[in-house]
Amino acid sequence: MFHKIADRFGIGIAIVALFIFLSVSSPHFLDIANLLNILLQVSISTIIAVGMTFVILTSGIDLSVGPLTAFSSVIIGLTLHLDIGIGIPILSGILVGALLGFMNGILIAKLKIPAFIATLGMMSVARGAALFITNGQTIHMFPSEFRFISAGNLMSIPIPVIYAFVVVMIAIFILNYTKFGRHIYAIGGNKEAARLSGINVKSVETWAYIICGITCGIGAVILTGRLNAAQPIAGIGYELDAIAAVIIGGTSLNGGEGSIGGTLMGAILIGMLRNGLNLLNVSPFLQQIVIGAVIVSAVFFDQYRRSKKDSSAAKGLNRPSQAVGATKPYQ
């Protein structure tokens, strides 16, 4: 069973190894409270990494997730202060994320601007806009209902963790069980073949960016609640975290191959690492060194294991038979 999971998401082994190591070396690591902490701390980055997975699967990239989150957060903050309840602010934050994602999509799918440049530009524009409309000031203090719904606890489970779980589930579902999801993979695998098979490449691509924007909006809701503040400078470095989670999870930057499950593992690996280093009170300078080294080694062992597996399987003599139907778990 475990073997199977590790097989599907190679990085699983690294996570388990790290988990065991941290359990042994820190007495606090295994506390339920701490494990929930880890999940809470990775909830935002997981959600955004899910959106990023859609984008990267189409062989794109989104550098603007940090500023998108900040901008959404600022919008949420401003509308919350209008005293119109919490529904509209939450909705408008998510919609604003979707809108900016849509703009990314148009630039990339329709105007054919390389995703790197388009989203780099958006990164700069959205950040500037967030600073501009707030005049650089953080917006503070929100109603407690909002704080509860975005970052409270439900029977001692942090609500952001629940959101992350739901987002992950929906994403897995979309990617594996809908037409749209299949089209995402097809486009990333071979854009021209997808186009000639009657897939509306532009629209699917645009939607990938919209989805990424929506995840930023959801991330912004949680962030705003967690901080009880909307900061125009929030989300610095989110793009690297999200992309790293996606790639550690085995999704290829070339698109077409990868899974949400992998991304989740990637995000958890990073979060667990940061948490563990805090718990072990590793010096901040060394922490950076360790984080870098662990990420690289985790991916290295994953690669290594896969290449081993390939070559050992090859020794088996099975020649292609005409027989069809050996049902294998999808993907």
């Binding site: 359990s23 203090m141 901080l227 009880n228 503040a229 901040p284």
Partner: protein
């Protein structure tokens, strides 16, 4: 994991005390000095410090995570320089609820936010950025005899201390009708950007008389830019943080002043009062280190 079995050593004097010391970053000498002061106090008082910082000054989320982790590891007290004065409140409430005493240093926790969150009053050790900015601006204006063109090089926008220092300086300049602010640009606390931005400001304002840099790091860049146009000493530079190198430049006449926020004192008293809190001694609710504008 059977870590729950041994009860938290409730301030047992025998056990070494663990104090969580949270700063914004360690990539700024200011915080390194602060840490030194804290370590000094730690050594004197025989307590163990767990020093944790975010990746960057703006990484407030990471600070929150750090505090959450400290609650999990059951430190005896937390001494924190918050990356955001209000953002940090919710997690500090959690810490208080877990019975962990807190000392606030450097960046002051927002009073309204604290009250709204039901935070018990938290002692504060620190200094006012607005006052410091005012001090530096005033000194610059005085050096210019109340007349001339000045520029401001700001820190990262939207960050409390950057805004405070800028606002303080602007307040001082406003008191002199012949002082004109001709440029106000951000160099994101960085030396290299300070150099480039200052060069460009000088290009647009060849007759600039003085500049206030919101930290020393940017001032070091600005000094190189001024050197580059051969106006070393002619354009007056005032800055903030009192780094050792700044004092060297002041001695050389390349810089006029730098505001000393005494980060080592902040760190020292932060830890000291944290230990006092653990030992249920009384501590002042506010301890302001004395700001000092270091000049030649």
């Amino acid at each position: 994991g059977s870590s729950g079995s041994d009860k938290p050593a409730a301030k047992a004097d025998k056990k070494e005390l663990k104090i969580g010391f949270v700063m914004k970053t360690l990539s700024n000498p200011f915080f390194i000095s602060m840490e030194k002061g804290a370590q000094k106090a730690g050594k004197e008082l025989g307590v163990k410090l767990e020093v944790q910082v975010g990746q960057e000054e703006t990484s407030i989320e990471q600070q929150i995570a750090i505090v959450e982790n400290m609650i999990a590891t059951k430190v005896d007290a937390i001494c924190i320089a918050p990356g955001g004065s209000k953002e940090i409140v919710p997690v500090l409430k959690k810490a208080q609820d877990a019975g962990i005493p807190i000392i606030n240093i450097d960046n002051r926790i927002d009073g309204d936010a604290a009250k709204a969150a039901g935070l018990k009053p938290i002692p504060y050790v620190g200094a006012s950025n607005i006052d410091g900015g005012y001090l530096a601006g005033k000194y610059l204006a005085e050096q210019l005899k109340g007349k001339g063109k000045v520029a401001i090089i700001e820190g990262i926008q939207g960050v409390d201390n950057a805004e405070g220092r800028k606002n303080g300086a602007e307040k001082a300049f406003a008191e002199y009708k012949d002082i004109q602010i001709v440029a106000s640009q951000s160099a994101n606390w960085k030396t290299e950007e300070g150099l480039n931005v200052m060069t460009n400001i000088l290009q647009a304002n060849p007759d600039l008389n003085g500049v206030f840099c919101a930290n020393d790091m940017m001032a070091f860049g600005a000094i190189q830019a001024i050197d580059g146009v051969g106006k070393s000493g002619k354009i007056i530079v005032t800055a903030y943080d009192a780094l050792d190198q700044a004092k060297v430049y002041i001695k050389e006449g390349k810089m006029a002043s730098t505001v000393d926020q005494k980060p080592d004192d902040q760190g020292y008293y932060g830890v000291k009062y944290a230990v006092d809190l653990i030992n249920k001694k009384e501590v002042p609710m506010e301890y302001m280190v004395k700001l000092e504008n270091i000049t030649k």
